[in-house]
């Protein structure tokens, strides 16, 4: 009898524990939204991209959870659900990231994953995301190939791809009357650098067929020493030097090229040049033409939403936000809008991934950098307005960006269904400028 009672107590305890656990899990599942956030938190890409992006994301999630973000983002969290972010380091390569992605989806049971700066990771993750039916938002990476070479159901990219950087710079050079009779380039030796140079050089040749390519340099990524390349660029006597260098490589290139007079002898253009400005400050050279794949930082539009974000970030971190935090916030805004649109349709319940994916497709939403439209890749790839400017010193001697030209998204992005490189080669048919 005693044994029977003990067994009964034990079984009851186990059942109660299980029921409580399931209850808690369900309650938590309905109330909160678990978000995996993947970005570089270590390695050379952390300081210029990953950390400022996550700083922006962290701040925005905190303000969203507190309900302190202006309209149309003033509803707490995602549709009233508190956001719990799980940050993951993107360093280690694509194989490691695929494993981390599986861990987030299968072990941590996240509701969505937002991440990826590296184009290599962005090429590796989407097929796994669709296999696992995991809602995934690519917030930063630039390669156009993600949705040009394939299509995915659960994957979205809320930032424009990199082709628009180089198309817009080529247009800017011509509009501003710069001499583009000869060009040279220094770009990193991997997909990003090669694609950027190809988009730029082909755009220039299309807009000015007599332009001559003098030199094409592709140093390895993170090489840090550019003395020889600077000599070669100066020897080439090209009228324009193009570079898509980023992070520590861009910083080192600027520090090494400035005292050697490269920026005075030739017109230098940096297609991703804004993100090192907060760090370099007045060490940044004057007269450089730069872009930031969108209207961000010093080139951001004068809207209430941008003023709010710019000030919030400045107050929190003491530096102005460049492209990385803007882009992560843009991704979070897109996800929030898609979730809330799905909730409107399903009567306010927590939407499942199919409902969110359906709402995300073709979505349009306002961001600090302007209107984002999910128009390419059958509604999975964003386009957005772009801005190009030239650095100059203001009256206090601080470096700033002037002479800004803004481009409509439809002016510097190909239409849906056409690859960027084909669009450039065809002479930008249908561009709405």
């Amino acid at each position: 009898m005693n044994f029977f009672r003990q067994c009964l107590i034990l079984i009851s305890s186990i059942l109660i524990s299980l029921l409580t656990f399931v209850g808690i899990s369900n309650a938590d599942g309905h109330k909160g939204f678990k978000l995996g956030v993947v970005t570089f938190l270590s390695g050379p890409a952390a300081e210029p991209f990953g950390v400022p992006a996550w700083n922006g994301g962290k701040l925005f999630i905190k303000l969203l959870n507190e309900g302190k973000v202006p309209a149309p983002y003033n509803k707490k969290g995602f549709g009233g659900m508190k956001i719990t972010a799980i940050p993951i380091d993107e360093s280690g390569g694509a194989t490691k990231q695929v494993q981390e992605f599986r861990n987030l989806v299968q072990r941590d049971k996240v509701d969505a994953v937002l991440g990826y700066v590296s184009s290599g990771d962005c090429m590796a993750i989407p097929s796994v995301a669709d296999e696992l039916k995991a809602l995934t938002v690519l917030y930063d990476c630039g390669t156009p190939r993600v949705f040009e070479d394939a299509s995915y159901k659960y994957v979205f990219r809320t930032a424009a791809h990199a082709a628009m950087d180089n198309i817009a710079i080529a247009k800017y050079l011509i509009e501003k009357g710069h001499d583009i009779s000869s060009i040279a380039g220094i770009n990193q030796n991997y997909a990003w650098g090669k694609d950027s140079w190809k988009d730029f050089s082909v755009s220039v040749k299309k807009l000015s067929p007599s332009s001559e390519i003098k030199n094409e340099l592709f140093p390895k990524i993170f090489s840090g020493q550019y003395g020889t390349e600077i000599s070669a660029l100066m020897n080439s006597k090209a009228k324009v030097v193009h570079s898509s260098l980023w992070g520590g490589d861009l910083q080192s290139f600027i520090l090494q090229a400035k005292p050697r007079g490269l920026f005075k002898r030739t017109q230098v253009v940096f297609s991703a040049g804004d993100h090192v400005m907060p760090g370099l400050g007045n060490k940044y050279p004057e007269g450089v033409i730069l872009g930031a794949r969108g209207q961000y930082g010093m080139m951001a539009p004068d809207t209430a939403l941008n003023k709010w974000f710019y000030k919030s970030y400045m107050d929190e971190y003491g530096v102005f936000p460049a492209q990385p935090p803007y882009r992560m916030v843009q991704g979070l805004m897109g996800l929030k809008m898609a979730i809330e649109k799905a909730m409107e349709k399903n009567g306010g319940k927590k939407p499942n991934k199919d409902e969110i994916a359906a709402a995300f497709k073709g979505l349009e939403f306002d961001s600090p950098g302007g209107l984002v439209q999910m128009k390419l890749g059958d509604g999975h790839q964003a386009i957005q307005p772009h801005a190009i400017g030239t650095t100059a010193k203001d009256k206090d001697g601080n470096i700033t960006v002037t002479d800004i030209v803004r481009y409509k998204a439809s002016c510097v992005n190909p239409p849906n269904g056409i690859k960027a490189v084909d669009w450039i080669n065809a002479g930008f048919p249908g561009a709405d400028c």
Partner: protein
């Protein structure tokens, strides 16, 4: 044409000088301690960070600008003084005589720890200390301007190489080190304090690594990850020249520096490949490097 050749030689010499200073410490430590020290790159990074920290303090104290080189030397020295007892006495000494692969793994582990130490102390933000580079102005060569500081690196490399050669070959202490390199056991039997020689040799290697980092800091954005390329390239230099050989490090650095400069100017597509081409060629035809002499077989 003459202008172009002059540019290639100058660019190659500047790059080779930088490579030589980094590789000199690595090859010297291997020569004496028989340790392939992957953590050498970590010490290089610490040298860069300490300079990026100390030089702004130096300027804020209103010290004469010309003495900034002294501040850079002090920062390299400080790194070597701190790191040597921790690494050599605290860790590596326990592994002398063990399998070489194990020791390489130990130094790799230390390298990873040093990377995290950099993050702990200095965080993820880049540091800039370009002011010392403005000290020597710019000089015109042909149609190009070169920064005086970059050219001074050639002088620094020559000084480091000659100084180490002089100490090893012309002083009593140097001859003791050579004796230990030749045969540590017999040197010990003759009354040489081997542990002391190892400690001193490691200190010199660490100082040279930190010195390279210290003098590179004004050229670059000092941030986590700067040591990765350094480790690979300095290994290439010592493989070409022969592990443990100072003249080998000179020739190895010159081969890579000149070949790279020639490629960037004349055949840019091959630039990324040329260092590995030189290294692979050496491994095929002279696996022990250019200056690795015949070794007596011990019975």
């Amino acid at each position: 044409m003459v202008d172009e050749i002059l540019t290639i030689v100058l660019d190659g010499a500047i790059y080779a000088s930088w490579l030589f200073i980094v590789a000199l410490g690595l090859t010297f430590v291997f020569g004496v301690l028989k340790i392939l020290n992957i953590a050498h790159g970590g010490i290089y990074a610490l040298g860069a960070y300490s300079t990026a920290t100390l030089v702004p303090i130096f300027y804020s104290l209103g010290m004469p600008e010309q003495l900034v080189i002294l501040a850079m030397l002090v920062s390299a020295l400080a790194v070597a003084i701190v790191i040597t007892p921790i690494m050599e006495r605290g860790i590596l000494r326990r592994f002398y005589g063990q399998d070489e692969v194990l020791i390489v793994l130990v130094t790799y582990a230390i390298y990873l720890v040093l990377e995290d130490v950099q993050k702990l102390i200095w965080g993820m933000n880049s540091l800039y200390v370009s002011e010392p580079r403005e000290l020597l102005g710019a000089l015109e060569f042909g149609s190009l301007y070169y920064v005086g500081y970059d050219l001074a690196l050639i002088g620094l490399a020559i000084f480091c190489g000659l100084f180490l050669w002089f100490v090893l070959n012309k002083t009593q202490s140097g001859k003791i080190v050579l004796a230990v390199i030749h045969n540590p056991e017999i040197s010990g039997c003759m009354g040489v304090n081997i542990n002391k020689v190892y400690l001193a040799a490691f200190f010199i290697g660490a100082f040279l690594a930190a010195l390279a980092g210290s003098f590179t800091a004004p050229l670059i954005s000092v941030q986590v990850g700067i040591s990765v390329a350094v480790v690979i390239e300095s290994f290439a230099v010592v493989i070409i020249g022969g592990l443990g050989s100072i003249p080998g490090a000179v020739i190895g650095a010159l081969i890579i520096g000149m070949a790279r400069a020639a490629c960037v100017h004349k055949l840019p597509e091959a630039e990324i490949f040329i260092m590995y081409f030189c290294m692979a060629g050496m491994l095929i035809f002279k696996p022990k490097g250019l200056f690795q002499g015949a070794q007596a077989r011990k019975i």
